[in-house]
């Protein structure tokens, strides 16, 4: 299982742009959150989709990085909610469990998160439950979305749920292969397909916006 073929190495190299250029193990730079907020968010997503016996989780998917990047683009309107919600969550961890969230045991972290999820946690300006629901949904996006957006690094989210991957054609034979568990997962971003890449260079509304880097 540890054998890595030349073909796999080439494939790994090919997906680098879609992991936004970061080597395995290296953490991407923080773009929109403060360092403190990022550390806290990393700790939260690590409990939402933990790294465990079932394999990699939100940490390996770089879900927090996805959220941090998106807070400067598509999720910019959620930036104030993150600032307020993360601060409130950490205050609640200190007041109710006696330590910052990142220093609590996994069990205590989970119990804090349950309080936030159920709305039992105090000190939130809006609804604690709404903040939790927002973070969970963005964590799903960063773990199971197209790697183009900076999350789902190395397709760990898709592999977790055995999603066989983005394809542009699924023949009747492919469907039969899937049904007989013989269809190999396709580790490819939608934006690696030529008909989409053509658009990046060329015409159409999608090319009107800025396309300096991936994942806006």
């Amino acid at each position: 299982m540890t054998f890595i073929s030349r073909r796999d190495l080439l494939k790994a190299a090919a997906i680098v742009p879609f992991a936004r250029g970061f080597q395995s193990g290296a953490r991407p730079p923080v773009e929109n959150l403060t360092a403190t907020e990022m550390e806290l968010l990393d700790a939260i997503v690590a409990r939402l989709i933990p790294t465990d016996a079932n394999g990699p989780g939100a940490t390996e998917a770089l879900a927090a990085h996805y959220i941090d990047h998106a807070l400067g683009t598509a999720l910019a309107s959620s930036r104030p909610a993150y600032a307020a919600g993360l601060a409130a969550l950490d205050r609640y961890a200190r007041s109710s469990r006696g330590a910052p969230f990142t220093q609590l045991s996994a069990t205590d972290q989970d119990s804090v998160l349950i309080d936030v999820e159920t709305g039992a946690a105090s000190g939130f300006t809006g609804s604690a439950a709404a903040f939790f629901a927002m973070v969970l949904s963005h964590t799903h996006q960063g773990t199971f979305g197209d790697p183009y957006y900076g999350g789902n690094a190395n397709f760990v989210g898709w592999d977790l749920i055995a999603y066989p991957g983005v394809r542009t054609m699924v023949t009747a034979t492919d469907q039969k292969s899937l049904e007989s568990k013989a269809l190999k997962p396709n580790h490819k971003s939608a934006y690696e397909y030529d008909f989409i890449k053509d658009n990046e260079r060329g015409r159409g509304p999608a090319s009107l916006g800025k396309r300096d880097h991936h994942g806006d």
Binding site: R47, L48, I49, P50, D52, A53, N54, G57, A74, D110, L113, E117, L136, S137, H140, Q141, T143, F144, G145, D146, Y148, Y149, G157, W158, L160, I161, A162, Y163, P164, V166, R167, T168, M169, V170, T171, A172, D174, Q175, L178, E179, A190, Y191, Y193, F195, I196, D198, N199, G202, R203, G204, P205, A206, G209
Partner: protein, 570 residues
């Protein structure tokens, strides 16, 4: 001051599913048409198989006028207005929502045109629900059949006929009204799971069949067959196999030289002269105002925008809004009761990652009046639809059927095993109009230009909720027969909110006191104003509205061609 443009024969406001169809018979007859569309052209290169962009973020790359004017909604006139979502369910683009809809292309059943008279005949007059303003349509299915046929062939619909000239074919829908000929294409392919559901329905004694879709099951009109890649739900087609008007009727109309498409045209109001005749429309492009004069105006935006545009177009002749001197614009509104679904968990993978929501198996035994309601306390029914549709972010958000929390290691174990093991049914229910369900202009919320947005005041009533409970029982029975190990039912329905299946508001009918447009789709009060789309429909039946809206649009356009001199502005 608006720039006055050169006069034209017909202006169509909105080139979506309905307006995009109506343009073709007009242009083919040599009538000059200008199609004003708020969105732009999108092409196959814009249709990335990208769940995050299409399904989660709602097409941020398109021009979304609609997202700036999402209707407000409340259940009743005395209940609070609920916060609006950030994404309108419909899309602005040439082709409109026919670019990213599911493309289920159903005909209505004969009963849907005659709800009042057929209910009285079969069960007595007391069975029409209290407070309902439902009327028979001014014509029956036989009047619309040639236009259904026209759209099925012009646009391209795949499916299995169930009733050709009265001869029942058990492979299709035995409850459909008679059709003159088969669909132009065979149905979309099945899957192992859909076959299993088909067998289960048969073993219950029901009559399952593949549903109709405006999607190519084989190459058609020089466009590709469907690639089944799994991104059809809220996604455009990368091979033009989904038969939006942008790849079918609109380019054909352009080829005649009589349709001019004007994208990025944001229509604000319709102008009326002293005689109450419509003279043209005002629109904005990049903040510049234009007035486009026309001899006939066809309003063809979505139901909320059709109603809003009429209500915003006030004049001396129409002080309460265009064609609203009888106060009927916005009345008889309802949205299809599509909620109250049933979800099932199976002990095996369904292999639903690919395919599309129009690829599925239907049961119509419990739809409309296809079964005896003699011992029941409601009228109408629901179409049961089981389909293929799954993407990774959506799968991660699946119902855990009370077997796991929504996050953490226990959830991760659950999702690893079950991500491909759940199925959500889609049950469309006959829904009726009621006197206290309506659309009007919101007194407070405005769009960025300062125009009030549409307000929905509507809730599902007892009849719809009873259909929901009844069809949920049938759906659970079907899933259990196929081996489901857990079932979850959604609530039976309360406030309607806003919907992709929005009907009424400019209802069609002979009675001037209760209907906005006549049997041909032209306003009783302003004869050179036509209205296209489901806003003219007075009943929904238990099936998707698009094919009916398109058949009606073709019929209205054909009537205009035949009666041009009588209808056009004098």
């Amino acid at each position: 001051m608006a720039t006055k443009l050169k006069d034209t024969d017909v202006v169509i406001v909105g080139l979506g599913a309905a307006g995009g169809v109506a343009a073709l018979p007009l242009a083919q007859a040599g009538i000059d048409v200008i199609g004003l569309e708020a969105g732009t052209w999108l092409t196959r290169k814009d249709f990335a198989p990208d769940e995050l962009r299409n399904n989660v973020r709602g097409w941020p790359q398109g021009i979304q006028k609609a997202n700036q004017e999402i209707p407000t909604s409340r259940a009743t006139a005395s209940s609070p207005t609920v916060p609006r979502g950030s994404i309108h369910p419909m899309q602005n683009a040439v082709g409109g929502t026919s670019l990213h809809y599911w493309a289920q292309s159903w005909r209505l059943n004969p009963w849907d045109f005659k709800v009042v008279s057929e209910t009285r005949r079969r069960y007595g007059p007391s069975r029409i629900p209290n407070g309902s303003t439902v009327e028979d349509w001014p014509f029956g299915l036989d009047e619309l059949e040639p236009y259904y046929d026209k759209i099925e062939y012009e646009v391209g619909v795949s499916g299995q006929a169930g009733n050709i000239n009265g001869k029942i074919d058990p492979r299709g829908n035995r409850f459909e009204g008679p059709r003159k000929r088969a669909y132009p294409m065979p149905p979309l392919r099945g899957t192992e799971f859909l076959d299993k559901m088909t067998m289960a329905a048969r073993s219950l004694g029901w009559n399952p069949f593949p549903g109709p879709a405006a999607i190519n099951s084989r190459s058609y009109q020089n466009r590709s067959a469907c690639m089944y890649h799994g991104f059809c739900n809220r996604g455009g087609c990368h091979v033009d196999a989904k038969n939006s008007t942008a790849v079918t009727t609109i380019p054909r109309a352009q080829a005649t030289g009589h349709l001019k498409v004007v994208p990025r045209a944001h229509v604000t109001t319709i102008e009326v002269d002293g005689n109450g005749q419509v003279t043209g429309v005002n629109y904005l492009t990049d903040g510049v105002e234009y007035f486009q004069p026309a001899k006939v105006v066809l309003v063809a935006s979505f139901t909320y925008e059709n109603v809003r545009l009429l209500l915003l177009s006030k004049s001396k002749a129409f002080p309460k809004g265009l064609a609203n001197n009888h106060g009927q614009v916005g009345r008889h509104y309802f949205s299809h009761h599509q909620g109250a679904g049933v979800s099932a968990l199976f002990p095996f993978n369904l292999n639903a990652w690919y395919g599309l929501p129009a690829q599925g198996v239907a049961v119509d035994n419990w739809a409309d009046d296809n079964f005896d309601h003699g011992g029941l306390d409601f009228i109408g029914g629901g179409n049961l639809w089981v389909y293929s549709d799954r993407r990774p972010i959506g799968a991660a958000g699946m119902n855990t059927f009370g077997r796991a929390p929504n996050w953490g290691s226990a959830w991760k174990t659950f999702i690893k095993e079950n991500a491909d093991r759940s199925n959500n049914s889609y049950i469309q229910k006959s829904t009726l109009p009621y006197e206290d369900n309506y659309l009007d202009l919101d007194p407070e919320v405005k769009d960025p230009l300062g125009y009030p947005v549409c307000r929905v005041t509507a809730e599902y009533k007892e009849n719809e909720r009873k259909i929901a409970a009844f069809t949920q029982d049938k759906m659970e029975q079907w899933y259990r027969e196929a081996g489901a190990i857990a079932i979850q039912r959604a609530p039976l329905g309360g406030a309607m909110g806003i919907s992709t299946h929005a009907y009424g508001g400019t209802r069609m009918g002979d009675n001037v006191e209760t209907n906005v447009v006549n049997r041909w789709g032209f306003a009783h009060e302003a004869p050179n104003l036509g209205v296209l789309g489901a806003s003219v429909m007075g009943t929904s039946g238990a099936h998707n509205p698009t094919l009916t809206a398109q058949a009606l649009a073709w019929r209205t356009a054909e009537h205009l061609v035949k009666n041009w001199k009588n209808i056009k502005r004098t």
